[in-house]
Amino acid sequence: MIRSITQQKPLEEIDELLKGLGRVFLIGCGTCTTLTHTGGEPELSTMRENLTGVGKLVTGQVVVPVACDNLTGEIIKDYGGQIDQANVLLVMSCAFGVQTIASQLKKMVVPALNTMFIGKETGMGRFNEICTQCGTCIIGETGGICPVTSCHKGLVNGPCGGTDKGKCEIDSNRDCAWTLIYNRMKELGRLDSIKKFQKPRNHHGEPMPGRVDLTEKTQEATAK
């Protein structure tokens, strides 16, 4: 299952972001950041101790089931009193959750985490980025291995000259994506497919910020 992968910001940075804000309400998330141990119950408790240690008053804390869900606003209403007393919400969810909360409560929000990527737990406590959501998927021609994500240069037309015994030039602990693709395609007897030219990527497939509106087509069809 894919997760939003996060890392806690350095405490100094959190202190800086909370400068002049003495009363803090803490929000964690029961989904992704609980799994990644960056925003579940134990992490909230540790954060509470840290904050108390630097003289902050923690007015309350809650781990909401899914911070990015629109119901989060409803759930948090139960904590209205504690939230009213705080002058800032320190949110230990990914940025999806932080933005959901920010849009639902008229309150200053500070993220305690950096959102790194959307990834997968590939082993106990190990998370890997599998897809960068580029919007123009080519893995049908690369044996289901994504070079846009897995090659450190994002090269789509084959490996660079830095492959070193199947590892990437930047890190001998990381596989060269194109060696993996080559081996997979060889196994499948489909080496011809990597000879194909991949055209310059259509970055318009992921306009910033991304937006897909399934109702637009219906509207167009109705207009005709």
């Binding site: 490996p159 660079c160 830095g162 070193d164 000879k195």
Partner: protein, 309 residues
């Protein structure tokens, strides 16, 4: 392979002579003398001079400005362009700028990863890769069109090159990869530094089997060692570099004060042997921060004087 540009490098290669190129790294500052001095050391011994583009991802004076400097000296630059730092708008724009100064040669590269340089936290762009850059320059030249399809007034006339590393693994992908670059539009190739001559010759066999040596001019890349330490460093620390143990040993077994001379000897011997390899149409001598040694190497290998074409 008929001539399509005003490139001197193209003319020399088309005439059947062995071409000689070398390279200069621009300075980490604004002093043009740094480029002028280096160029003066080698100008009479080479047909064209590559200017590297922020090599090893360390910020330097831009390749284009340094190439213009060479043009002002009446020399023949090869503009190296990596796809690491610029998107397709900037790349096309720089190609037009270069062509406006009649810079007639360009080498299309993806570039070292930014983590090696002085801006490790920088964004790597790779909006295009080296393969797509080759196609882009050829489209601009041959069709007179921008990537977006609009017409170019006075299209650029570049002789287009690419790099090849015969040594990186998997080895069996290296000839097909060259074929892909040739199909994308590469007209000349400058290879990674060659120390493992046996392996290079094996790669060239594959190149000839597919007839690629008749479609593209291959310039064999050589770099003289300054010391045994450099040989070890190249072997162990430079990605994609293949330095056989006996070469490192030969350097290490040489007394320290004679190592530089031995490094030059190895380079000269390599060129002598590679001259005999069918399909090698010239040499790219990369004497890293050691440009003053280039004339000697060229003389000793019988490649001097350079032909007038």
């Amino acid at each position: 392979m008929s001539e399509k540009t005003s490139s001197k490098l193209e003319r020399i290669l088309a005439s059947g002579n062995l071409a000689v190129t070398s390279e200069c790294g621009p300075p980490r500052g604004t002093d043009p003398e740094a480029i002028i001095e280096k160029a003066n050391l080698i100008k009479d011994y080479v047909d064209a001079i590559n200017i590297t583009d922020n090599q090893t991802s360390v910020t330097r004076m831009c390749s284009l400005a340094a190439c213009i400097r060479l043009k002002l000296m009446g020399l023949e630059p090869v503009l190296q362009m990596v796809t690491r730092d610029r998107n397709r708008i900037a790349l096309q724009s720089d190609i037009l700028g270069a062509a406006s100064f009649d810079i007639n040669n360009m080498l299309c590269l993806s570039g070292d990863h930014q983590s090696f340089g002085d801006c490790a936290a920088g964004q790597n762009v790779h909006d295009l890769d080296s393969m797509q850059l080759l196609q882009l320059v050829r489209k601009m030249r041959d069709e007179g069109k921008f990537l977006g399809g609009d017409e170019i007034k006075r299209p650029p006339k570049m002789f287009v090159g690419a790099a090849a590393n015969p040594f990186a693994d998997p080895f069996e992908i290296r000839v097909p990869r060259l074929a892909k670059k040739v199909a994308a539009g590469a007209e000349f190739i400058q290879t990674q530094c060659i120390y493992n001559l046996d392996k290079f010759e094996k790669w060239m066999e594959g190149v000839r089997e597919r007839g690629l040596h008749e479609k593209v001019h291959i310039l064999a890349g050589v770099t003289p060692f300054k010391s045994a330490g450099m040989a070890r460093y190249m072997k162990n620390r430079v990605p994609g570099m293949d330095v056989p143990d006996d070469v490192v040993k030969r350097m290490a077994d040489t007394p320290k004060e004679k190592q530089a001379e031995e490094g030059i000897n190895i380079c000269v011997e390599s060129i002598q042997r590679l001259k005999e390899v069918e399909g090698v149409h010239g040499f790219h001598v990369m004497a890293i921060e050691w440009e003053e040694k280039v004339p000697g190497i060229i003389e000793r290998t019988g490649l001097y004087p350079r032909p007038e074409v």
